[in-house]
Amino acid sequence: MSTETQDEIIETLYGFLERFPKATGNLGPDTKLADDLSLDSVNLMELLVEIEDHYDIGLPLNMMADITTIRELAAKITQLIEDRA
């Protein structure tokens, strides 16, 4: 089981996101997934798979409706890890 802190989760997310063409360089906790990184729905699916596999959690699609930044995504992951524990 992963025991990453939220900051560590953010770092891990940077690692996942760097695979996408527009995500190089300027990643920060407040980077907006859609507006700043231009993630389309296919990219998003790839990202969600990485997160699910890495943390062994299930990410419901409806959850993404209220997430805009990397920090918010990390907070949601933290919560899902805690729920699972």
């Binding site: 859609a34 299930g58 997430i67």
Partner: protein, 600 residues
């Protein structure tokens, strides 16, 4: 849990029923049914048609207690779940009309989705609305200020008191469902399909398109709010007493291999997907994954819902050949919600066939003159390739017409017009739109462009102006509406359309905006805002081109000439790409007067 079997003793009847209730009454005499698989590829729900019928009739009695008039609409957020299927059939027994609504959401798209739900629920005048737990909060927000007889989760409905007495049921003329043809929020078009209409189409498809036989088994991840997902995988298997396996759309999109595994494990014989899905599947599987799969039973892999390009299919066939996949299983087809579903299918066991024609002749005269690629090589003539979408199902009449409505001969491209028993009765409560699409003598103007050759249909252009990305229909009006909502962008300043992407294999959306702003920072911000709005509402990337005022072409009556705007845009792109780069000093001094363009 065990999936329902593929074969049983019940004699195969190919949808020769007068209503969907009658069809389910018959299917309930057998042992086949519906099965649901989760993200891990495990079965989590399974019902025989016998069980499904009982559950649907019980729920129908509870729905009757709501006092909704016959033919009243019940909106169903169409997540891939056993509840949706149960509610869909319950509505039939209760004499109500189910209306599947999209269950899809973008990053940060909460508000946009709620608005969309509310708009569709209002448009169909629903008396009740259901969403499963995952979607219930969005539904509650959408209906907050509506006065519905009941809105909530399946549990809410299951807690209603059942009413005794006969179920009202339906007649062949009753509406079977209303299908929204796109996720359009501002301009929803609800296709009204009657019982006899959808059954006529399924009869035709199952007897002539797919030639169903005992032992066929369906498999799908297509969304239930999509015409192909609903008609080909919920209604058709039931009306032909076949078992069907479902994987959630989201689960497929994340792990396409689960679709292949599900088909392999249950020896599915029939599936369907847009071309992009076959491509996605190949992108996400490793070659050695194929070895563990057995797709040798799969005899039909329909390909439809967007323009078909052969390359992704060839790759899929290659990678999955070790799993026993045969490329003759690919079945290009043509269909649309307005015709219930299927219109033409390639012959079974035929290989995907390409018509090579002279591109110039097609562009200038709309004539599909065959041109051998070998012959064209080294000359100035270019070859255009179109996929054979097969022969029309026998119940359809077809005419290819020119812009004045006159029928065209073979190998002349024009607007596809269709007539037959599978055609819709109209768009829900929209007589004007219905009149535009449907003539008094029953001809449907599909808006799609194509030609006939040797009795085969070839599509050369899609529904007028429609943007199709990843198999999803997006109305240009919706994209334009988003751009027009920006300050400084007025009603007449916007045109949206799609163009082939750089590699020529995909389509991408383009929004051209007439912009008076000269400040580069503000211009860049406008572009970024529009791109962000499109992404949060539709989940697609688009390009925004800012152009000077009076760039967009109009028709004589002042309407936006979208097709011409598209050609103009492509010409500008081409010109920009071919202009040699000038040294900075050679720039004209009057640079301020030159049209400023910004492409994101």
């Amino acid at each position: 849990m065990q999936a329902t079997g593929s074969s049983h003793d019940l004699a195969l009847r190919k949808a020769d029923f007068s209503t969907l209730c009658e069809a389910l009454d018959y299917a309930a005499l057998g042992t086949t049914g519906v099965n649901f698989y989760n993200a891990k590829g495990e079965i989590y729900a399974s019902s025989t048609y016998t069980e499904l019928r009982n559950e649907a009739m019980e729920l129908a009695r509870r729905l009757m207690g709501l006092g909704i008039e016959r033919g009243g609409r019940v909106a169903l957020v169409a997540e891939t779940s056993p509840h949706f299927v149960r509610f869909f059939w319950a509505c039939q027994y209760a004499g109500l009309v189910p209306v599947p609504l999209p269950a899809t959401i973008q990053i940060g798209g909460h508000a946009a989705y709620v608005t969309q739900l509310a708009q569709l629920i209002r448009n169909c005048g629903a008396s009740a609305a259901m969403a499963t737990a995952e979607w219930a909060d969005f539904l509650a927000e959408a209906v907050a200020d509506m006065d519905l007889a009941c809105a909530g989760t399946p549990e809410t409905f299951d807690a209603l008191a059942p009413v005794a007495g006969d179920l009202p049921g339906v007649t062949p003329e009753s509406t079977a469902y209303i299908q929204y043809t796109s996720g359009s929020t501002r301009f929803p078009r609800g296709v009204v399909i009657d019982q006899k209409t959808v059954l006529a189409n399924i009869r035709d498809m199952s007897a002539n398109g797919l030639k169903l036989h005992e032992g066929d088994r369906f498999s799908s991840w297509l969304p239930f709010y999509h015409d192909m997902g609903l008609v080909a995988f919920i209604i058709m298997p039931m009306a032909t007493q076949r078992s069907v396996d479902f994987l959630g759309t989201h689960d497929f999109a994340m792990r396409p291999r689960k679709w292949l595994e599900m088909m392999s494990a249950n020896r599915a014989t029939i599936t369907s997907a847009p071309p992009f899905a076959y491509e996605l599947a190949v992108m996400r599987i490793r070659p050695r994954d194929a070895e563990g799969l057995d797709l040798s039973a799969l005899r039909v892999a329909c390909v439809g819902a967007e323009m078909i390009t052969p390359e992704p299919l060839e790759r899929f066939a290659e990678v999955l050949a070790p799993a026993g996949f045969r490329k003759t299983a690919f079945l290009p087809c043509y269909g649309m919600a307005e015709c219930s579903l299927g219109i033409s299918f390639l012959g079974l066991d035929e290989e995907v066939r390409i018509d090579h024609i002279d591109s110039e002749d097609m562009q200038h005269d709309g004539i599909a003159r065959p041109l051998d690629p070998a012959e064209a090589e080294g000359t100035e003539r270019r070859v255009a390739r179109y996929v054979d979408c097969g022969a029309l199902l026998p119940t359809f009449d077809i005419e290819i017409r020119d812009e004045n409505g006159r029928p065209l001969p073979e190998r002349h491209a024009g607007v596809i017009h269709l007539r037959g028993p599978s055609v819709m009765s109209g768009y829900f409560q929209d007589p004007e739109m219905t009149r535009e699409a449907l003539s008094a003598d029953g001809w449907l103007n599909t808006g799609d462009i194509g030609y006939l050759a040797g009795g085969r249909l070839f599509l050369t252009g899609r529904k007028k102006d429609m943007i199709i990305i990843h198999g999803r229909n997006i109305w240009p009006q919706d994209l334009e509406h988003l751009a027009k909502s920006q300050p400084g962008v007025s009603y007449n300043d916007v045109a949206a359309f799609s163009v082939p992407s750089g590699d020529g294999r995909h389509e991408e959306a383009v929004i051209v905006v007439q912009c008076r702003e000269r400040d580069e920072i503000k211009r860049a911000r406008l572009v970024k805002t529009i791109i962000g709005m499109v992404r949060s509402e539709f989940g697609i990337d688009c390009r925004v081109e800012l152009v000077p005022t009076r760039t967009l072409p109009r028709t004589s009556s002042g309407k936006l000439a979208r097709a011409r705007a598209r050609l103009d845009h492509m010409a500008r792109q081409q010109a920009a790409a071919s202009v040699p780069v000038q040294p900075a000093t050679a720039q004209p001094e009057t640079v301020d007067e030159a049209p400023i363009r910004y492409i994101a």
